[in-house]
């Protein structure tokens, strides 16, 4: 510590970002330096002092919410690996970005799990995909792939079995595009690739054993101090999933039970790991937009928006960038708020499913959802995979009429005026159905008994574990990206950040109802804006460019998705003439990070509550596993 430290104001946690960086630089003069690369921001921290710096940032400067931690492989640029952390203040404002660089050949960065428990899964992911070791991490093992997988696939020099070319577009498609299935190029006719030193004799399914060792199995109960009034039971390991009707997809939980009570829970994921990021780095910038639809496939519009915002941040560093037109912004907000309602219908319906109200509430919710999907289908062309946002605007204006023409024999056609449809949807249909859900479920004694006080998550824990969205807000933390770091036209819209304080399943259910009502409130303000901007352009510039040039730099764009904070960390290294694709494309998936406290929330609960707790987090596997 130096003498100047005394000059630091009392309330260091209200310093602006620059001040905070200054403070860190003064406190750790030889560990912290500015990131001076073109288009980059934040500080680079010496790994040896990373934990101290992070602790200072967290405790003294108030950056106690670690939004995203991810690795980047700079092979061929400066041959280092880098961990990038984005930390925020829960009171709002911009990010403190700090990075730690390590040698590519022996990557090692101290774990931040002590400071930010929310780094748990994210560090495991970096270990899995990049092979970075995190000394100090208590449970460092693969998270998305299985133990025994060959190599760390996100490294730039790792090639998949169907590898064709470093970046898209592939040369083999045009002008000599002789169609080829990728299987034909593989001797095995499958998407497989074995290491050169494959030893078939040594093959065995090792992945499961490693999983079960840490689960407190094989504990001899008889060695416990005998308690006369308690029933003695053996510990039992139960697998829920990956094929299980209540895991919302292919999620798996390994729980250790003592009787009915959970003593340990280990989430196992990766059953839907579709290599989104690897593919995303081969893709050109535009190519990724439809892929983002498939992240959180229930709310594709919001995913689109997040990606568009992140890329727009990068584009804004260039000269030819024009911000989206006002009408485009209005339509964007319209779409994402409708998506929020769609998502919460789904979440509530399936939460009730998990509670045992088999399918009736879900059916009502899906029926209402269909009405909104009809509008999406007429506007964007697809019910679920909307692919609607573009950089600097949206793909197309709203259609004048929601209209269909017969193309099959038995086709029945419809024809509605879009604005009438929207007005009725927003002013009548959705409010009515939300009220109905409320009447239907909220007071039900069964639901209350099953949910109140179950799966408690304290506010401190919620922040520490980097949870976001309804999960965070139901624990009494009023944090909403739309207010904390506003984007689009949210600043001019009038809405409240919903918050509930009990942090249990019931509150998470209630907060979804609240948020739907807030969304309706926003939508009601959107309608007159839509009317007013009728006929204006929805795209800044002439026409979407099919291969946009993106300036060098990094950007982190985040939006408040229905499930939580969705962030995209993008790095562009493209030279203006070369291939135009992201160097790094990372998705900070709310479903993934919201699962971090699952084990803690479930400990001590009954086994039947696990599915309900999971349902109340509201995950979607496309995003969890990416």
């Amino acid at each position: 510590m130096t003498e100047e430290m005394t000059l630091v104001p009392e309330r260091a946690d209200t310093l602006p970002i620059e001040g905070a960086i200054d403070y860190l630089k003064r406190k750790f003069p030889d560990a912290v330096k500015d990131d001076t690369r073109q288009g980059y921001s934040g500080i680079i921290v010496d790994p040896a002092h990373l934990v101290e710096v992070a602790r200072t940032a967290c405790d003294e400067l108030g950056f106690n919410y670690l939004s995203s931690a991810t690795a980047v492989d700079y092979l061929g640029i400066d041959d280092s690996m880098e961990m990038v952390y984005h930390a925020y203040r829960i009171s709002g404002g911009g990010a403190l970005v700090f990075k730690a660089q390590t040698d590519r050949n022996k990557p090692e960065i101290p774990s931040l799990i002590e400071v930010y428990p929310g780094a748990d899964f994210q560090e495991r992911e970096a270990y899995d995909l990049y092979g970075i070791h995190f000394p100090g991490h208590p449970n460092l093992k693969r998270i998305l792939l299985w133990d025994g997988f060959d190599g760390h696939p996100m490294r730039k020099d790792w090639k998949e079995a169907y590898y064709e070319q470093e970046t898209k577009p592939f040369d083999s498609r045009w002008p000599k595009g002789y169609v080829r299935r990728a299987e034909e190029l593989n001797v095995f006719g499958k998407n497989v690739k074995y290491p050169a030193d494959l030893d078939l004799a040594k093959l065995s399914d090792m992945s499961e054993e490693a999983l079960y060792s840490g689960m407190g199995l094989g504990v001899d109960v008889s060695s416990f101090p005998a308690q006369a009034d308690e029933l003695q039971t053996d510990r039992l390991v139960v697998n829920l999933g990956p094929h299980h009707p209540s895991t919302h997809g292919v999620f798996r939980m390994v729980v250790t039970l003592e009787g009915e009570t959970i003593v340990a829970l280990e989430p196992v994921m990766g059953y839907l790991h579709r290599n989104h990021e690897k593919i995303g780095e081969r893709n050109a910038w535009n190519h990724n937009m439809p892929f983002t639809d498939r992240l959180d496939y229930i709310s594709s519009m919001s995913n689109n928006l997040g990606y568009a915002l992140a890329v727009e941040k990068l584009l804004a560093m260039g000269a030819r960038y024009q911000p989206p037109t006002y009408r485009a912004e209005v339509i964007r907000v319209l779409m994402v708020e409708l998506t929020r309602i769609v998502n919460h219908y789904w979440a509530i319906g399936f939460l009730l499913n998990d509670l045992g109200a088999f399918f009736t509430p879900a059916l009502y919710a899906i029926a209402e959802r269909e009405k909104i999907l009809d509008f999406f289908e007429a506007t964007a062309g697809s019910r679920m995979m909307c692919n609607y946002m573009r950089f600097q605007g949206v793909a197309k204006d709203l259609p004048e009429r929601i209209r269909s023409v017969a193309s099959h024999v038995n086709d029945k056609v419809r024809d509605f005026n879009t604005m009438d449809y929207l007005t009725e949807l927003i002013n009548e249909r959705i409010p009515r159905s939300v009220d109905e859900l409320d009447r239907y479920l909220t007071d039900s004694e069964i639901i209350k008994e099953r949910t109140i006080g179950v799966g408690y998550l304290s506010p401190d824990m919620a922040i520490a574990y980097s949870t976001s969205g309804p999960l965070l807000r139901a624990s009494g933390v009023p944090y909403d990206v739309r207010r904390a770091e506003p984007y689009s036209i949210y600043p001019e819209l009038d809405f409240d950040v919903c918050v509930r304080h009990n942090g249990d399943i019931y509150d998470r259910y209630l907060i979804r109802l609240d948020e739907m009502r807030e969304s309706i409130r926003i939508l009601k303000q959107i309608l007159p804006r839509l009317e007013k901007t009728q006929g204006e352009s929805v795209f800044a510039g002439n026409k979407a460019i099919y291969m946009p040039r993106v300036p060098i730099g990094e950007a982190y764009g985040r939006v408040e998705n229905p499930k939580g904070e969705l962030g995209y960390y993008l790095v562009s290294q493209g030279d203006p003439k070369g291939p135009q694709n992201p160097w790094r494309y990372h998705v900070r998936a709310p479903s993934f990070i919201n699962l971090t406290p699952l084990g803690a929330m479930c400990r001590g609960q009954k086994v039947a509550d696990v599915v309900a707790i999971l349902g109340s987090i509201d995950i979607v596997l496309g995003e969890t596993d990416r």
């Binding site: 080829r180 034909e184 499958k190 690739k193 839907l272 290599n275 029926a367």
Partner: protein
């Protein structure tokens, strides 16, 4: 092949009156049987990815699967007849899927829903994605689309019903389980350094030996000449009126296919022999 089996089935070594030799009775029995089977298909309650959401939407009130007798989604493979593979099959998930398939009682059907389940889909190039579930388990109907709309899925289910309707009880190629009893379990893939199909063990071993001599392991650079071969094949196929070439017969799949066919044939012969012996008693 089918003719041969038909003959074998009728060849009971009992004197059969001439007017009973035709399979009229069996055909109408087939029809009743198939009608009841196809009208009570119970799908496995099982979703993989985005397509599963559309599958749920199909089962929900607007498209209402119960009109086809399919609303009874069973969470247990033991009680279901139909597996709708709805979404991307990853290598990690493949193992449970094959297990689930093996646990389903016959007659069982598989519907590959969406581009992903049919042939890998948009994520095909990914390192953890299986390019088509049909590389591991037999698929009856493919429904293209990403995602197929509920109506497209219903169309696929109707196609499946049509297929069931066409399955004669007497044709062992269509309905192996009537003649020869339960078919073999599909070998469960192993998660090694990459997914390993036990049926390809021999091939992998051979390749490993080659690799030990310094050759590339498993990768094949088709020489430029081969490209024209594919083209020629394509041109020929076009003349025949089909749309595209089948996957170029690689040594690998030939090996596996031949071995499988041989195995199946042997099984069937054995079972027929058993059946015949039983009838004699």
């Amino acid at each position: 092949m089918s003719q041969l089996n038909l003959q074998q089935l009728h060849d009971t070594e009992f004197p059969v009156p001439a007017d009973m030799q035709g399979n009229v009775a069996i055909t109408s029995l087939s029809r009743i049987y198939n009608w009841s089977r196809r009208s009570s298909m119970w799908p496995l309650l099982f979703g993989l990815a985005c397509c599963a959401i559309e599958m749920i939407a199909t089962a929900a009130s607007r498209y209402d699967l119960s009109r086809f007798g399919m609303e009874v989604m069973r969470a247990s493979p033991r009680q279901s007849d139909l597996m709708i593979v709805s979404g991307t099959v990853t290598k990690k998930m493949l193992v449970p899927i094959v297990r689930l398939y093996n646990q389903m009682p016959e007659p069982k059907y598989v519907l590959a829903m969406g581009a992903c389940a049919s042939g890998g889909g948009p994520f095909k190039e990914g390192y953890n994605v299986v390019s088509g579930i049909d590389q591991y388990i037999p698929v009856d109907v493919y429904v293209p689309g990403c995602p197929p709309t509920p109506q497209a899925l219903l169309n696929g289910l109707i196609a499946l019903q049509k297929k069931i309707d066409g399955q004669l009880l007497t044709n062992l190629d269509d309905v192996p389980w009537y003649g020869v009893g339960p078919s073999d379990a599909v070998p469960i893939p192993v998660l090694g350094p990459d997914i390993i199909d036990p049926r390809q063990m021999e091939l992998i071993r051979r390749q490993a030996e080659l690799a030990a001599q310094g050759q590339p392991f498993g990768m094949r650079e088709l020489p430029p000449a081969a490209i024209t071969d594919v083209e020629k094949a394509k041109a020929k196929m076009k003349v025949k009126g089909s749309a595209a070439p089948a996957i170029a017969a690689s040594g690998a799949s030939e090996d596996v296919d031949a071995a499988l066919a041989e195995m199946r044939n042997r099984k069937r012969q054995e079972a027929l022999a058993r059946k015949r012996a039983m009838m004699k008693q």
